[in-house]
């Protein structure tokens, strides 16, 4: 759900930049702390951002519904790198998608960082940690994280659209409308994201346990 350039009114586009910048700054501070110990970690982050970018181009079939979706990859990145680093990685990927594809935009970059990178990462990460605490298995927790991470992204995006486009109507009504009108594309997307996140994480855990220990998280 990349909000395109020009979609949001000037004041709101600017306003979304503030919280987005705060989270990106948080990501920079945290990553810098890690870089102080190992400067080469930035190569790893660059590769991860490229991974997130490429994964967002992968078609994932959704069983039963009969569509194909493209995962965002942010919940996965958040589980593997931690949510703040994932925000940074997501912000990089979003800027490149805007420049390379005209997916998203410059004035809407802030809004998109907030919905895709911040909401997707934190909802995904939070769900994962919580689900693990509750005793869910790796796959189930990751699947739930992907699913809810995506829905969170979608909820924030539709709120942003509602605030920007509600006209004379009340915001909740428009929010609900936006939420419902993109529902047919977003639910399969969230399912695909969940399946993808779970599948990849289980794959990594089985094949390369060392990676799960090497990156931010130890499950």
């Amino acid at each position: 759900m990349h909000i395109p350039e020009g979609m949001l009114p000037a004041g709101q586009a600017a306003a979304w930049y503030a919280p987005a910048a705060a989270f990106v700054a948080g990501g920079i501070v945290q990553v810098k702390r890690r870089l102080a110990r190992a400067a080469e970690y930035k190569a790893m982050l660059g590769l991860m951002a490229a991974f997130v970018f490429v994964v967002s181009l992968m078609p994932v079939p959704v069983p039963g519904i009969g569509t194909v979706s493209h995962p965002c990859g942010t919940p996965l990145a958040a589980i593997l790198l931690g949510p703040f680093a994932a925000v940074l990685v997501g912000a990089v990927a979003l800027l490149m998608q805007a420049l390379f594809f005209a997916h998203g935009g410059i004035t809407t970059w802030g809004a998109n960082i907030l919905s895709m990178a911040v909401a997707g990462s934190f909802a995904g990460y939070g769900t994962y940690v919580l689900a693990r605490r509750l005793g869910l298995g790796l796959g189930a927790a990751a699947g739930l994280a992907g699913f809810l991470g995506d829905l969170a992204t979608y909820g924030v995006t539709s709120l942003q659209l509602a605030l920007g486009l509600h006209g004379d109507q009340s915001i909740p009504v428009v929010w609900a409308t936006a939420f419902v009108s993109f529902l047919p594309t977003q639910v399969p997307l969230a399912i695909a994201e969940g399946l993808f996140t779970a599948g990849v994480l289980v794959f990594i855990a089985r094949q390369r346990e060392d990676i799960l220990k090497g990156v931010e998280l130890a499950p």
């Binding site: 395109p4 979609m7 400067a39 991860m48 420049l99 935009g105 509600h166 006209g167």
Partner: protein, 249 residues
């Protein structure tokens, strides 16, 4: 990325007329035009912006058919913008169906947003097709964008094409063993592909990190921007002219 962006980016490296404009001028101009596009929110300005960007790409010999396709991407959003305005704002009802009414003035407001999207997206496209990543990085540093962020942009760009090529080859290897011939196989293949790609990206990250440490782990932004030249003066003058015309009417 496959077709569109590769071309997008190839054009930027092509070194055409637009590439030769100082990236600082292009970034500042882009931000300014986009801000005015939102601030004025007028159909005339947005339409003129779209025309101007098409003209610019014509002058710069940018083959922009593909780029127009890229701009068509937000079509869903554009339709939503027009529809939501027509339904949610305005007074003058032109058609109604029970509680749902379409308003004439709302429709016009929606069309203004659609034009704003078109004009704005084309400005971003022009920046994309005219600015190689290293120019962009240097200019962003000049604008005091945090070093770490710019470095990440550079590193990501460096690896993007390799990883994409790897992704493509692995996916082809799955396809020939019929890994994408039905939905269930496709789901299983996407899991394997994502996992295997991640493992390779991770290992490559370790190797790249080691190589980086061997050479001193310095910043990954290097080089310098040339001094602005005549082409930059002309660009700034044209930009000012364009804005002045529209500020006055």
């Amino acid at each position: 990325m496959a077709g569109a962006s590769r071309r997008h980016d190839d054009i930027a490296w092509g070194g055409g007329l637009l590439t030769r404009i100082d990236p600082r001028v292009k970034i500042a101009g882009t931000v300014l035009l986009l801000a005015v596009n939102l601030y004025l929110s007028s159909w005339a300005f947005s339409a003129a912006l779209a025309v101007a960007m098409l003209l610019l790409m014509t002058l710069g010999h940018v083959p922009y058919r593909r780029q127009l396709l890229a701009v068509a991407f937000p079509a869903g959003f554009t339709i939503f913008a027009v529809a939501s305005q027509a339904l949610f704002s305005g007074e003058e009802v032109i058609a109604s169906l029970g509680p749902v009414a379409i308003h004439w003035d709302g429709l016009l407001a929606g069309l203004v947003i659609a034009l704003r999207i078109l004009g704005g997206a084309l400005v971003v496209v022009v920046l994309g097709v005219s600015t190689p990543m290293n120019h962009l990085a240097l200019a962003l540093r000049w604008f005091r964008v945090p070093l770490l962020f710019v470095e990440l942009l550079q590193l990501t760009y460096r690896y993007l094409f390799d990883i994409y090529a790897e992704f493509t080859r692995m996916r082809e290897a799955q396809r020939v063993r019929l890994g994408w011939s039905n939905r269930r196989a496709g789901l299983e293949s996407s899991r394997l592909l994502g996992g295997a790609l991640f493992v390779r990206v991770y290992d490559r990250g370790l190797r790249a990190g080691e190589a980086m440490r061997c050479r001193g782990s310095g910043p990954v932004v290097a080089g310098s921007l040339g001094r602005p030249g005549r082409i930059d003066l002309v660009s700034v003058a044209l930009l000012a002219e364009f804005l002045l015309i529209f500020m006055n009417i």
